[in-house]
């Protein structure tokens, strides 16, 4: 079995009375693609952000390979450099071109020389088919193009894993396709990914495992087929029924 890339044990995160992450344990192995789905407001984003240590969990441990990220002595910046994160609302650096967005961390975090960083950044942009837009600023691109640059930015450092928080849900429906295509390419390359998404056809195609997340906890996990045919839990059953109905309507 492939090596475990990321793992969390008994993770908790609360905001006042709202429990976003309730005693969640999870692991993902090299090359796996796992997809988290569930009702909005159930804490999926918080869970993902805790794994990336962009939100510090209240309790529990997060591991990136052998390194425990929740130990106080850990250099979180260094750790985050090994994790790619793609945001729902994209959040490109607005003052930098596509190339500048991808290049910045290569230069400032990995301390690559200028030429090498440029080459590496262009490579990442080619991968998401945005090399012709290298010199454009975020405001000059469509949402889908921006998100592809967002993916290139996460990818360029050769991270151990890429976490994607609803990468298509802020986009116009006609623009989701190009981002999904990019994710498909990454899947083919064997990229380890944890994706929060409700793109069910895509999930069925690439996910090794689907995770139904509700009220701050993992309710049910299994291969996509399980969820499409006969999920065990009542909640997952209901949610899938709604989702499939909605997809058909579209």
């Amino acid at each position: 079995m492939a090596e475990i890339v990321m793992e969390c044990k008994n993770l908790w995160k609360t905001y006042g009375k709202i429990i976003a992450v309730k005693d969640v344990s999870f692991q993902i192995r090299e090359g796996e693609i796992k997809l988290v789905f569930g009702p909005s407001g159930s804490g999926k984003s918080t869970f993902l952000r805790c794994l990336a240590m962009l939100t510090i969990p209240d309790k529990g441990d997060v591991y990136l390979r052998d390194q425990c990220l929740t130990k106080p002595s850990v250099d979180l910046n260094k750790a985050r450099a090994k994790i790619g994160f793609v945001f729902q609302h994209i959040w490109l650096f607005r003052h930098l071109t596509a190339l500048g967005n991808v290049e910045l961390s290569l230069r400032r975090v990995l301390k690559m020389p200028k030429d090498e960083a440029r080459e590496k950044a262009m490579e990442a942009l080619r991968l998401v088919k945005m090399e012709d837009w290298a010199k454009h600023y975020p405001a000059q691109m469509s949402g889908g193009q921006q998100q592809r640059v967002g993916i290139a930015r996460a990818l360029a450092r050769n991270p151990n894993i890429i976490l994607l928080d609803e990468p298509t849900s802020a986009l116009d429906p006609e623009l989701t396709g190009e981002v999904i295509d990019t994710l498909r390419d990454l899947a083919r390359m064997g990229t380890t990914m944890l994706i929060v998404s409700h793109e069910m056809p895509f999930a069925r195609e690439v996910a090794d495992e689907m995770i139904f997340y509700d009220e701050g906890a993992i309710v049910e996990t299994g291969p996509p087929e399980l969820f499409f045919t006969n999920p065990e839990s009542e909640r997952a059953k209901k949610f899938m029924a709604r989702l499939i109905k909605k997809t058909k309507r579209e």
Binding site: R80, W91, F93, P138
Partner: protein
């Protein structure tokens, strides 16, 4: 206009001093104002309380009172002498920093949270994100406000004349008294201020346009 030619050295010296003090004030104020803005946002309660007192003092009292305090009160308290010119330079820098802190803080908060998250997500530290992501955007947004600050700073430097410092206003004051050409002297003085302010605001406009990036603009 021969009285102007006769007094040319006086005018030139005064003009140069006014230019120096305004440029020093605006740039030192920018540097200090940026530090204060960062301190206010990230420094925690104690630092930001201290900064608030600082800002309120410099915004809440006339600049001429601040000048008197720096030239008469503080030296008396510490039994020393302060060169009024140095005191003048410092007061204008400190005063401008108090105003600029407000503009810069506002601009930083306007670009702030999502860009900080994005910066951290690629492995940059908070200070790195401030330097490479937040400030380049905030300083672009702040240029128009900065231009206004320069205008009012320049005009308030006329208060230096009361301390006996030879700035532009003080030069024309003595010219008006000595030559009895009150009308011409003061009109000339006003024109020179106008020229200096116009040149500099034009430069700020050009810098703003040149540094402008699609998506990071504000409507003034």
């Amino acid at each position: 206009m021969s009285f102007l030619a006769e007094n040319l050295p006086l005018i030139v010296d005064g003009f140069i001093l006014t230019i120096e003090v305004t440029l020093f004030g605006i740039f030192a104020g920018l540097g200090l104002g940026t530090i204060l803005a960062i301190g206010d946002i990230y420094g925690g309660k104690i630092v930001s309380t201290f900064i608030r007192f600082y800002v309120e003092f410099f915004r809440g009292s006339p600049i001429i009172v601040q000048l008197f305090i720096s030239v008469y009160v503080i030296p008396a308290m510490f039994q020393t002498l302060i060169d009024p010119i140095i005191a003048g330079f410092l007061v204008f820098a400190l005063n401008s920093a108090a105003y600029q802190k407000g503009y810069i803080k506002g601009a930083m908060q306007a670009v702030f949270e999502d860009q900080m998250q994005a910066g951290l997500s690629v492995g940059m530290s908070k200070p790195q994100t401030i330097v490479y992501v937040i400030l380049p955007q905030a300083l672009r947004i702040v240029i128009p406000a900065w231009s206004n600050e320069f205008c009012s700073l320049t005009k308030s430097t006329a208060a230096l004349s009361i301390l006996g410092i030879r700035d532009l206003t003080s030069a024309f004051q003595s010219i008006a008294i000595r030559s009895f050409r009150v009308l011409e002297a003061w009109i000339m003085c006003a024109i020179l201020y106008l020229i200096w302010i116009t040149i500099m605001t034009k430069i700020f406009d050009i810098v703003y346009e040149k540094k402008k990036i699609p998506g990071i603009e504000i409507s003034v």
